[in-house]
C-alpha cells in the first residue's frame, strides 16, 4: 500500500480515462460549446503555429509580472520590517489585517478612473492583491525567528543588519515563499478578471471575444493557455523555492 501515495500512474490513468470518456461522449449529438479533446488539441496547436496566441500571452504577462513583482516586493519588505520593528508593526499591521478580507477588485473601477483603463490600473490592482499574502507571511515569518538564534548572534558580536540578513531572513524565507505562492495564484485570477472586464489584448480579452463571437475553438484555446500559464508559473516558483531553501529539510510540496 505504501506505493499508493507516491505512484503517479493512478491519477494519470484516471485523467486519460476522463479524456477518453469525454471524447466518446462527444461522438454523438452534442451542444455547440462542447468540443472533443482531440479537436481542442488541434486548435491549440493551430493557434500557436499561426501566431494568433503569442501576442495575447505576451500582453497578459506584461501585466501580471510587473503587478506581481511590485506587490509582492513591497509586501515582503514591509512585512519583514514590521516583523522586526515593533513600533512599525503596531502602526501598519492593524490596517493590513483589517483590510485583508476586502476583495481588492473593488479598487479596479477607482483605478480605472484615476489611471485610465489601460495597463496601469490592472497592474496596480494586481499589485494590491499580491501585497497582502506577502506582507502577512513575511511578517509572521520574521516574527517566528527563534529568539535564541538572535541572542546568540548578537552575543557573538553581529550587528543588527547582520542579524537581519543572516538570521531573520533565512528563518522567514519558507513563509515568504508560501506568501509568494498565494500571491502568484491571486495575480493570475485578477489578471484574467481585469482583462475580461476591459482590455483590447491578453488572454482574458481573448476568452471574452471568443465567447461573444461564439468561436468556441478559440475559447478553449485561451482557457488551455490560461491553465498552462498558471501551472507553469507555479512550477517555476516551486523550483525557485527548492533552490533558495536547499538547506531546509522539511519538505512540504
Amino acid at each position: 500500500m505504501g506505493s499508493w501515495r507516491s505512484s503517479k500512474t493512478v491519477p494519470l490513468l484516471l485523467l486519460a480515462g476522463a479524456v477518453v470518456l469525454w471524447e466518446i461522449a462527444t461522438l454523438g449529438p452534442r451542444a455547440d460549446f462542447v468540443l472533443p479533446p482531440t479537436e481542442i488539441a488541434r486548435d491549440v496547436v493551430g493557434a500557436v503555429a499561426s501566431g494568433e496566441l503569442l501576442p495575447h500571452v505576451t500582453a497578459s504577462l506584461t501585466r501580471a509580472l510587473p503587478g506581481f513583482a511590485l506587490g509582492s516586493f513591497a509586501g515582503i519588505v514591509l512585512g519583514l520590517v514590521a516583523g522586526v520593528v515593533t513600533g512599525f508593526a503596531e502602526t501598519v499591521s492593524p490596517v493590513v489585517f483589517l483590510t485583508y478580507p476586502v476583495p481588492k477588485v473593488v479598487f479596479l473601477p477607482l483605478f480605472m478612473l484615476w489611471f485610465g483603463i489601460g495597463d496601469v490600473s490592472k497592474i496596480l490592482v494586481i499589485a494590491l492583491a499580491c501585497f497582502y499574502p506577502c506582507f502577512i507571511n513575511a511578517y509572521y515569518g520574521a516574527r517566528a525567528t527563534p529568539r535564541l538564534l538572535v541572542w546568540s548572534a548578537l552575543n557573538m558580536g553581529a550587528g543588527r543588519l547582520t542579524v537581519f540578513r543572516k538570521v531573520v531572513l533565512p528563518c522567514a524565507l519558507p513563509l515568504v515563499f508560501a506568501g509568494l505562492r498565494v500571491s502568484l495564484a491571486l495575480s493570475f485570477i485578477l489578471l484574467f478578471s481585469t482583462e475580461m472586464i476591459n482590455a483590447r489584448s491578453g488572454l482574458g480579452f481573448l476568452i471574452r471575444q471568443a465567447e461573444s463571437n461564439l468561436r468556441f475553438d478559440l475559447m478553449y484555446v485561451s482557457i488551455v493557455a490560461v491553465a498552462a500559464l498558471g501551472y507553469a508559473s507555479d512550477r517555476l516558483l516551486l523550483l525557485a523555492r527548492r533552490r533558495a531553501l536547499a538547506w531546509q529539510e522539511a519538505g512540504s510540496a
Partner: protein, 256 residues
C-alpha cells in the same frame, strides 16, 4: 508612550489616509469626479444601506457568495476527510488537486455561462469551485493529523467506524476546517464581485461598474466601501462562530 496614544495607534494610518483624502478633495486640485469628498461617499453609503432596491443588490451578492460557499463547505469537508482517512482516496485526489490548484478557475467562467446560463447559477458554480480547493486542502491536512492513539483507543473500546469519525475525526479536524473557511470566504466574495462585474444585471459588482459608467464616483466608492464592509463583516462572523464551535482549540492561524 501614554496609554491613549497606544490605543489610538492602530487607527493612526487609517485616520491619516482619510484625512489626506478629504484634504485632497477639498483643495480643489482634483475634480470631485475623481476624488469625491467623504461626506458625499457617506451620504451615498447611507442611501445604499436604507433603500430597499439597493439592499436587494446587496442580498443578491451575499446570497450568491454564501450559497456557493456553503456547497463548497459540504463537498470540501467530505472530500478532505475522505482523503485524510483513506489512502486510495488520497492517491486519487491528491495529484488531481495539486495539478489543478494553480490553474485560475476564473477562465472557466465563459463555459459556465454557456452551461448554467448568465444568471446566478454560473456565478454560484464558480464560487463553489474556487472555494472548494482551500477547504479540501486544509481539511485533508487536518484529518491526516488526527492523533492515532485516540482512534486506536476508541476502536479498542468498541466504537464503530462511524462513531470514530463523528466523535474523534471531525472534532479533531474542526480547527483546520475553520482555517480553510477563513481562506475560502474572502475568495467567495472576490469571485462574486468579479463575475458580477463581468456579466450581470444585479449585485454589488454590477452596481459598482454601473456607477462608474454613469460617472457617479461617489456612489461607486460607496459600493466599494459596502463590499469591503461586507467582506470584513463575514470574516468577523466566521471568527465568532469558530470561537463558539471550536472553543477548545485555537489553531495558530496567520490571520488570527
Amino acid at each position: 508612550m501614554s496609554a491613549l496614544a497606544r490605543a489610538l495607534r492602530p487607527f493612526a494610518l487609517l485616520a491619516l489616509g482619510l484625512a489626506g483624502w478629504e484634504l485632497l478633495s477639498r483643495s480643489g486640485l482634483t475634480s470631485p469626479l475623481l476624488v469625491p469628498s467623504l461626506g458625499r461617499i457617506g451620504w451615498e453609503l447611507g442611501r445604499l444601506a436604507t433603500r430597499l432596491d439597493s439592499l436587494a443588490e446587496v442580498w443578491q451578492s451575499l446570497h450568491r457568495a454564501l450559497v456557493g460557499f456553503a456547497l463548497a463547505a459540504v463537498v470540501g469537508i467530505a472530500i478532505g476527510i475522505l482523503m485524510g482517512r483513506s489512502r486510495v482516496a488520497a492517491a486519487v485526489f491528491d495529484p488531481l488537486l495539486a495539478g489543478t490548484y494553480p490553474v485560475p478557475k476564473i477562465a472557466l467562467f465563459p463555459i459556465f455561462v454557456f452551461v448554467f446560463g448568465i444568471g446566478s447559477l454560473s456565478k454560484i458554480a464558480l464560487v463553489f469551485l474556487e472555494c472548494l480547493y482551500p477547504i479540501v486542502v486544509t481539511t485533508y491536512a487536518g484529518s491526516r493529523a488526527v492523533n492515532r492513539v485516540l482512534v486506536w483507543s476508541a476502536l479498542n473500546m468498541g466504537a464503530s467506524p462511524a462513531r470514530v469519525l463523528w466523535r474523534i475525526v471531525v472534532p479533531a479536524t474542526a480547527p483546520y476546517i475553520f482555517a480553510g473557511f477563513r481562506i475560502a470566504l474572502p475568495v467567495a466574495m472576490i469571485v462574486v464581485i468579479i463575475t458580477e462585474m463581468l456579466s450581470s444585471a444585479d449585485g454589488l459588482g454590477y452596481l459598482a461598474m454601473y456607477s462608474l459608467a454613469s460617472l457617479k464616483t461617489d456612489r461607486m466608492l460607496a459600493v466599494a466601501v459596502a463590499i469591503a464592509l461586507l467582506g470584513l463583516g463575514l470574516d468577523r462572523v466566521l471568527v465568532l462562530v469558530r470561537d463558539r464551535v471550536v472553543f477548545w482549540e485555537r489553531l495558530d492561524s496567520y490571520y488570527a
